[in-house]
């Protein structure tokens, strides 16, 4: 079981959280081509290693935030607010 540091509530067990998938996807303009729209909706890097992703503290404060997490070790290397750009 992972423990996840909610920026608002502190470190809590994984089953209080819900993962919202890859972070920082930008919605294309309305005149986007089918290809761009499909890329946005479905195509992902799906990296083996570091991944920037959104999480929600569903059974806690209910708020969204971002994590940088390794998809192999599950180690969390950064936590930052949902509106912020990822750390370098």
């Amino acid at each position: 079981m992972m423990t996840i540091p909610c920026p608002h509530c502190g470190v809590r067990d994984e089953n209080e959280f819900q993962c919202g998938g890859t972070a920082h996807l930008t919605r294309p303009a309305l005149d986007a081509s089918d290809r761009e729209w499909g890329e946005y909706l479905y195509f992902r890097d799906n990296p083996k290693g570091g991944h920037r992703e959104r999480w929600r503290h569903a059974y806690g404060c209910g708020r969204w935030f971002n994590l940088v997490r390794d998809t192999v070790t599950h180690e969390i290397s950064a936590v930052y607010p949902i509106t912020e750009t990822p750390p370098r």
Binding site: N15, D34, G38, Y42, F43, R44, N46, K48, E53, T71
Partner: protein, 417 residues
């Protein structure tokens, strides 16, 4: 096949105290070049190699596996085979697969232990009942067997299921696909490997693809830890690692990798002679021929390449199983593990060309591709051999994610993934 298995062969083996059984297939060393290379020695890759040789006469083929064959999801799954899908495209695909399974032991001369013990899906609410009537009716319209069953039949088919008024999770009914069941997962990998190897296919283990070689944009080979191997056509069948291989070839897939876990209990006497699946609790179970209860879970719903399962899901699945079968409370669990599955948005596979000429892919089976091994291998072999999609695979192309023709099979998982 040089060594046909039969009852007579068993008797002969017994006289030699079973000491002289030869290896079932050749563990080959890489040649510099092949006509076709398949990346991934799971069921889909091995089946593709077999059907390339058998259906198309292409035998200069290598299956390149980074670990050992069947060491991926093919050797980690809960072995359920079924074809209870909603849409005509899926019904055709999966029922073709189930029909191949029905004759696979004869086809391969290898006992894959297909057991059509039926699959029961439980309805826990009025809405479940309505949804299941629609589902079962759709299956029958597509020519696949399905029957709605009531609580009386459930009581006799699934002993131990809590149908009492006090049940924590009420069961109102369900439906059964009687032709569904289980097969031995390792045997499927080994049987295809043996049959392919006998037809001349090279199986290369401990051989990891680390890059693709291209020339004028076409794929011409792979770089591996055992050197460069050339081939004009290459098929990828790497399940949870599909995106990693796609990235090596320079494109992306509509795939996210998740851990899917399962557990087995200590072996007990026969208590359950069918497969039971509860969409409501996310759990499904069957009893193996050795007596272990084989319990499958829902996904660990965050991206992962770690082949373990989160304890949070283990807990909730066991809670679900015990709510349905209170009598199992004293069973001890022996093992828990996970495999990395390749999930796409519409829960339907992708079998066909990639953006790189000469490179083809079979992926996206997610939580349910064991049942699809025969058809996945068959259709990947077809496109590798002919350059044309097999009619069964035509709807299951990568372009559906840009033109919007998804085949949205919530039924693919059967449980709420």
């Amino acid at each position: 096949m040089s060594n046909r298995y039969s009852a007579w062969a068993l008797v002969r083996g017994a006289f030699a105290r079973h000491a002289n059984w030869p290896a079932a297939w050749r563990d080959a060393s890489p040649k510099p070049a092949y006509d076709v290379i398949i990346v991934g020695g799971g069921g889909h890759g091995l089946a593709a190699a077999y059907y390339l040789a058998k259906n198309h006469g292409i035998t200069n083929v290598a299956v390149v596996e980074r670990g050992w064959i069947g060491g991926g999801n093919t050797g980690r799954n809960t072995t359920i085979i079924r074809s209870n899908y909603l849409y005509p495209e899926s019904a055709r695909l999966y029922d073709f697969s189930l029909r191949q399974y029905e004759r696979l032991s004869e086809e391969l001369n290898y006992n894959v232990m297909v057991s059509q013990r039926g699959l029961v899906l439980l309805a826990h609410s009025r809405h479940d009942l309505d949804a299941m009537s629609r589902w079962a009716n759709a299956m029958r319209m597509n020519g696949v067997d399905a029957e709605l069953i009531g609580r009386d039949e459930l009581a006799s088919r699934v002993p131990g299921l809590d149908l009492s008024p006090r049940a924590r999770i009420p069961v109102l009914g369900g439906f059964v696909q009687r032709r569904a069941g289980t097969a031995r997962h390792d045997a499927v990998a080994w049987g295809y490997a043996r049959a392919a190897s006998a037809l001349g296919v090279d199986i290369l283990q401990n051989c990891e693809v680390r890059g693709f070689v291209t020339s004028d944009g076409r794929v011409t080979g792979v770089d591996t830890n055992r050197g460069r191997i050339a081939a004009g056509r290459i098929g990828i069948a790497a399940a949870g690692h599909s995106s990693v291989l796609a990235a090596l070839a320079g494109f992306r897939l509509p795939v996210t990798s998740y851990a899917l876990q399962a557990l087995v209990s200590e072996p007990v006497k026969p208590v359950l002679d069918t497969v039971v699946l509860s969409p409501g609790t996310g759990a499904y179970l069957s009893q193996s021929d050795k007596g272990e209860l084989v319990i499958g879970a829902m996904l660990d719903l965050f991206p992962s390449y770690a082949q373990r399962g989160s304890f949070a899901i283990t807990q909730s699945i066991l809670a679900g199983v015990l709510a349905m079968f209170p009598a199992y409370a004293r069973l001890k669990m022996l093992r828990q593990w996970a495999g990395i599955v390749d999930v796409v948005h519409d829960s339907s596979p992708i079998i066909g060309p990639t953006p790189v000429p000469g490179l083809y892919i079979n992926c996206g089976w997610g939580t349910g591709g064991f049942k699809g091994i025969p058809v996945g291998g068959w259709t990947l072999a077809h496109v590798l051999a002919t350059g044309e999609n097999h009619p069964l695979a035509e709807p299951f192309q990568l372009d559906r994610f840009t033109n919007g023709r998804l085949i949205d099979e919530a039924a693919a998982s059967g449980i709420a993934h």
